[in-house]
Amino acid sequence: MEAEEVGARLRERFPDVVVEPFPGTAGRIRFPAARLIELLTEVRDGLGFDHLGQVGAIDWVEERELFYTVWSDRAKQYLFLSTRIPAGEPHLESLTPVFPSANWHEREACELVGITFDHHPDLRPLLTPTGYQFHPLLRSFRLHEPEELEVKVRDV
């Protein structure tokens, strides 16, 4: 499956998404964050990309990017989807109703990049200790300052 084909099949229902080629995969879809559930459902049921590989988040300082990798067993290909949300109060609909496996990926993105997922069943921190108030993968988080970190961890 090529990027053009993916684009052609999505264009009708989703005129606001952009499909661009991405070497080694079936393409990369940029979509507005509001259409997440709709688009992913269509990608899963309509295009057959039924296996969620990963959910990752990138901090671009002014905005945050979320990217989703899905795999289709029929096409034997990965498909990339990414969306950007403003960094002010970053929040997004949770993908768990569509892909239950997004659960831990979103927990990780929440604690590391500081994105809140609405309607997520269980948004506890996964990797960082309870009460840890930082989002380590933000660009503003500096390494090599261990003294500072120790003070700021709240007692639980």
Partner: protein
């Protein structure tokens, strides 16, 4: 009653905590707690030069270091637009397969320990040591190899390596028969492991599970076959599949994968014998030419326009499908490295395959998942 199986518990094979709610011996609910081994590898990678990240990748999964090196290096090369010479590709293929053998032997050792078999644990560890010896002979390390470089591999194979490697393959294929006799040949093993930890194919896909767990449910999915990378397109092998979706199925899949790995290894060794060539790409930018580049400190590197790019790679790691996503914003460090570990997903679905079984079943089931906490927590 909630009990904490972990963070220090013989079942965990690492450092994590499985909270289990039990009624007598029955498991009512589970809640895995991760993060005890979180070292912030993704964050440290943002501060490191591409080749320096390799030292981190070895430690991401301490039983499959070579596979993770391969994963990251592929993504980095994708992001930096570097072509790798063919011989390096074959050496990488060979290294990854040896790593798969070592990892699966480690899994075998840990798994039989989980069901209470004592001596095969040492057989597995003994035979894994042979593979580690091979790694040592060409990389210099036994567990942390630091062997792959952006654009190729550090050095070519030493003379006489392929003969030794073939001997190891022969020895191992004899041992696999013994392993099967000790496990499959035992009635108690079947009583313990048949119909245990069942996770059907549809559930596996719903929960994003990959690797031997998915293949044991009858889905013949293997990135080496479906999306060939390195030299996997040119070797002949079969995807190991079982249909039990249970612990025995996962055992069968892994043992079959071991045999198929030996098959791939023999082919790669033959190829490496026949073909010589460079193992490092010529067009690697100077600041990538690792050891000589005094980069990463202020005042040394003239800032200039590096090619920007996004790199993505997916490999069939011993535990399943691992993905890496590298964003190269033109500096000497990657802007963001995102690693997806298959075990991360497999543990996340723990509730689906643990609830309803007994306390005594937890170690075999988690053993068959093959947990490597290093790559879950990163």
């Amino acid at each position: 009653m909630w009990i904490n199986m972990g963070p220090q518990h013989p079942m965990t094979h690492g450092l994590w905590n499985l909270r289990v709610k039990i009624d007598g011996e029955l498991v009512l609910d589970v809640d895995p707690e991760m993060g005890y081994l979180h070292r912030g590898i993704e964050k440290i990678s943002e501060d490191r030069h591409y080749n320096e990240i390799i030292t981190l990748m070895d430690r991401t999964c301490y039983v499959a270091g070579m596979a993770w090196e391969h994963l990251f290096i592929q993504a980095a090369e994708h992001a930096l637009h570097i072509q790798v010479p063919e011989r390096a590709q074959w050496i990488r293929t060979m290294s990854e397969e040896f790593q798969r053998v070592a990892s699966h032997l480690m899994w075998y050792a840990a798994f039989v320990q989980d069901i209470g078999l004592m001596s095969p644990f040492l057989y597995g560890m003994r035979d894994r040591d042979l593979v580690l010896d091979l790694f040592q002979s060409y990389t210099g390390g036994r567990l942390t190899y630091e062997y792959m470089r952006v654009g190729g591999v550090r050095n070519d194979l030493p003379p006489g390596f392929t003969d030794q490697a073939r001997k190891v393959c022969d020895w191992l294929s004899d041992r696999f028969v013994e392993y099967d006799r000790l496990c499959l040949g035992s009635d108690i093993f079947h009583r313990r492991c048949d119909n245990l930890g069942v996770l059907k194919a549809s559930e596996c896909i719903r929960y994003g599970i990959t690797g031997p767990m998915l293949r044991s449910a009858g889905v013949a999915r293997d990135l080496r076959k479906d999306r060939p990378y390195a030299a996997y397109g040119q070797v002949d092998f079969e995807v190991a599949v079982a249909d039990g979706a249970d612990v025995t199925g996962r055992y069968l899949v892994r043992m079959e994968e071991l045999r198929q790995s030996l098959r791939i290894l023999r082919q790669t060794l033959d190829w490496l014998d026949r073909n010589a060539g460079p193992v490092m790409a010529e067009n690697v930018p100077r600041w990538m030419g690792a050891p000589y580049a005094p980069v990463g400190r202020e005042g040394y590197l003239l800032k200039r326009e590096y090619p920007k790019g996004v790199g993505f790679s997916a490999i069939e790691e011993p535990h399943g499908e691992a993905l890496a996503y590298v964003v190269n914003e033109g500096g000497e460090h990657p802007y963001r490295v995102k690693l997806k570990s298959p075990v991360f997903v497999n543990i996340a679905a723990a509730r689906q395959y643990l609830v309803g079984y007994r306390v005594a079943d937890i170690p075999p089931i988690m053993g068959s998942v093959d947990v490597c906490v290093g790559e879950v927590d990163r």
